[in-house]
């Protein structure tokens, strides 16, 4: 019983440490929208505090007395009887170590082209804030800003000739002419990766064929309004394409 309680305390401490560690290393950006970072931090500290208090309680309790806290009235008599003494069963402990195991032993990696296969891709995103996008200078806009601007525009032709400077990863599927076009893609995450939606702009370039899927590139060029699969949409005609490292924050936050 005490072993399990020790284990419980250790698990909470480690989970708290893990949360804080992902925050400090910035890996948290692979998992959730940055505006919830404070919440994850709070959770990390809460877990550390709870773990520490449990350790203190364990240390201050005399050996062998596992049912009541010293000096305190037994407040959970029934709970102990029914729910196994308020100490989680082994399978519960195992379950709660799963996030730790996955987080620590698997390399942290953001969603990439492979994830699009089962979450789909959007050419236009009817997200809010479309008008805001217009107040950003064209070359300062990111993929999300452009997609927003396209969606909220009433006249798609206005984008013809506008310059763009974008970073994203390369994605292709059967709809794309492999030698001449690809989608410059980013994931948008509004809450956490569960709701990740891939968005992108179509890029046409003679260099397109040489770019590996999932590689991060920076594309500079101009938009032209063209047909893609029977739909008129702005397409980025690349003037230069260079390989870049994955950005620290791989997702965009709407």
């Amino acid at each position: 019983m005490r072993t399990r309680r020790w284990f419980q305390a250790a698990l909470m401490l480690l989970l708290g440490l893990y949360l804080l560690e992902t925050l400090l290393t910035g890996e948290i950006a692979f998992y959730i929208n940055e505006r919830f970072n404070w919440l994850a931090g709070l959770a990390g500290f809460t877990l550390l505090a709870l773990g520490t208090l449990n350790v203190i309680a364990l240390l201050s309790e005399p050996e062998g007395d596992e049912s009541t806290l010293q000096g305190a009235p037994d407040l959970l008599p029934a709970a102990r009887g029914v729910a196994h003494g308020g100490t989680a069963r082994w399978y519960v402990l195992a379950l709660l170590s799963l996030p730790l195991i996955l987080g620590v032993f698997l390399p942290a990696q953001p969603l990439g082209a492979a994830a699009i296969n089962n979450s789909g891709i959007a050419f236009s995103l009817n997200v809010s804030g479309g008008d805001q996008a217009f107040s950003i200078a064209p070359t300062q806009r990111n993929v999300l800003d452009w997609v927003r601007a396209f969606s909220s525009s009433t006249n798609i032709d206005e984008f013809g000739g506008q310059p763009a400077d974008l970073i994203g990863f390369v994605y292709r599927d059967v709809r794309f002419d492999e030698a001449a076009e690809f989608m410059l893609t980013r994931f948008t995450v509004s809450c956490c990766v569960a709701d990740a939606v891939a968005i992108g702009v179509i890029v046409r370039s003679e260099q397109a064929g040489g770019l590996a899927a999932d590689s991060w590139v920076r594309v500079q060029g101009r938009f032209e309004v063209r047909d893609f699969l029977g739909q008129r949409m702005p397409i980025l005609i690349a003037e230069s394409i260079e390989s870049v490292a994955m950005p620290e924050r791989p997702y965009l936050f709407p």
């Binding site: 032709d157 002419d177 046409r204 032209e224 309004v225 047909d227 893609f228 029977g230 005609i237």
Partner: protein
């Protein structure tokens, strides 16, 4: 307490299913019933029309397009679209868009009512619940031209030739100038070559349905000129000359390229980059592209259906036009009149549908007339020739004649020795001409665009200081 007891009583009676279970069960049944009822009541919203064209004024060759919010079931649209007054056309469905093309030009000046009956079905099974109807008016064919001639920068303009006091309307506002253009046969779009910086030239599209221009192809290191529409409007052929800006070697020779209008992807016609070519001309069915190849000294006919090339040897370096029925292609030849020192130009007709490319002369070699230009009438049986008669010197003006294809017989149409005529454009109906005239012997004269009606013989000045007239259906 009484309530409590009754509750217990119920709990006792329904020991396995208490009041809550009963309530939940009944609610679930009620909800399922309500869902079923809603489904049985059927759809009261249906699919809806997102966009439809044309609106307002339209060309007589206009395509009617109706886009829905969902992909359509092609079988469901048959017989659903009607025009008032009636007009025959072909209906097709691509994705969520329905398209209707008239079999013959719509009547000019007529207001048409388009009506799409309810019952058009989406692939999901949803129906169009209310008929969709709207009107548009068919405008008369217009004349497009380039002006002003006496300025370094020319732009595209439009004028209504049938309104005597019509004012030209400027279509493009290019800063460096428009070099050449072509009008799509359905009258919906114009492709033109626009001069850019460093002598580059780009291809742009002017859409008359939306009155907006957009870039079709940006040629940053080359001049892309002489665009020619494939008649279905999906591909443009053009001449591309590399400017060799980085080596300073100066502009190279032109090559024929193709650009897909829908994707903007361009490619050379021939994979071999040593193949030169210019003057692209499409056959009316879009299957053959003719162009002149100076290296082989002839007109190359490239057949897209079997990727086969055929050659018509001619040293003149000019490619004429396909006849509207697709059978003939003409090109000029220079001959010396027997027994004289005079050289004249005659036209040769090639039967492109014959395996051996059988050639015939339009007029016998003995004919002393000098034919400068030729233009087809829509019936493919008659042509308008710009001809210099034998009795005047070559310095004097060329005049318009109507030539019969079979007999070669010529009827003078517009003959005025004070003027030289050329650049004849025949209206879609074949009843009217727009052409360029230049007053000879007048200082300060500019090329003018004139209008001629074959039925009434009405001859009228359309616009001064302009060139390259083309009809916009």
């Amino acid at each position: 307490m009484a309530q409590k007891r009754s509750l217990n009583w119920i709990g006792y009676t329904y020991s396995r299913f208490d009041r809550l279970d009963l309530g939940v069960g009944l609610t679930i049944l009620a909800l399922l019933g309500a869902i079923l009822l809603t489904l049985l009541r059927g759809d009261h919203v249906g699919i809806s029309v997102r966009r439809f064209l044309p609106q307002g004024l339209a060309s007589s060759q206009t395509v009617i397009q109706i886009a829905f919010d969902e992909p359509l079931d092609p079988r469901s649209v048959e017989g659903k679209l009607s025009l008032t007054p009636e007009a025959a056309g072909a209906l097709s469905v691509v994705g969520n868009q329905l398209e209707w093309r008239p079999n013959s030009p719509l009547q000019q000046g007529q207001v048409y009512t388009v009506r799409l009956e309810a019952g058009v079905r989406a692939q999901s099974g949803r129906l169009l619940l209310e008929a969709h109807a709207w009107q548009f008016r068919v405008r008369a064919p217009q004349v497009v031209f380039m002006a002003p001639v006496d300025q370094p920068v020319q732009n595209l303009f439009l004028i209504d030739p049938n309104q005597p006091d019509a004012q030209p309307q400027q279509l493009t506002f290019s800063e460096l100038g428009v070099l050449s253009y072509d009008v799509l046969p359905d009258g919906s779009r114009i492709v033109y070559s626009e001069l850019g910086e460093l002598r580059t030239a780009h291809l742009r599209l002017y859409d008359l349905r939306t009155n907006s221009a957009l870039t079709l192809l940006e040629c940053r290191t080359a001049a892309c000129t002489t665009p020619a529409w494939r008649p279905d409007g999906n591909v443009v052929a053009f001449e591309r000359s590399e400017l060799n800006l980085d080596t300073g070697a100066g502009p190279g020779a032109p090559r024929i390229w193709l650009v897909d209008v829908n994707t903007g992807i361009s490619r050379p016609l021939f994979a071999d980059n040593q193949r030169l070519g210019y003057s692209p001309r499409w056959s009316p069915d879009g299957a053959i592209l003719a162009s002149y190849d100076a290296n082989v000294g002839g007109i190359v006919l490239f057949d897209f259906e079997n990727n086969r090339e055929r050659l018509i040897r001619t040293p003149q370096g000019e490619v004429g036009q396909f006849s509207p029925d697709g059978r003939w292609l003409f090109f000029p030849k220079i001959i010396q009149l027997a027994g004289t020192t005079r050289y004249v130009a005659h036209f040769v007709l090639v039967d492109v549908q014959s395996e051996l490319l059988v050639q015939r002369d339009l007029i016998p070699d003995s004919d002393p007339n000098n034919d400068v230009e030729l233009a087809w009438l829509p019936d493919s049986r008659r042509l308008i020739a710009t001809r210099r008669p034998p009795e005047i010197t070559t310095m004097q003006g060329a005049q318009l004649h109507l030539i019969d294809l079979e007999t070669g017989a010529a009827t003078p149409l517009v003959t005025d020795s004070d003027y030289s005529s050329g650049q004849v454009a025949v209206s879609p109906s074949g009843e009217q001409l727009a052409f360029q005239r230049f007053a000879l012997g007048q200082s300060g004269a500019r090329p003018q665009i004139w209008f001629y009606d074959l039925n009434t013989s009405e001859l009228r000045l359309l616009v001064n200081n302009a060139t390259l007239p083309r009809w916009l259906p």
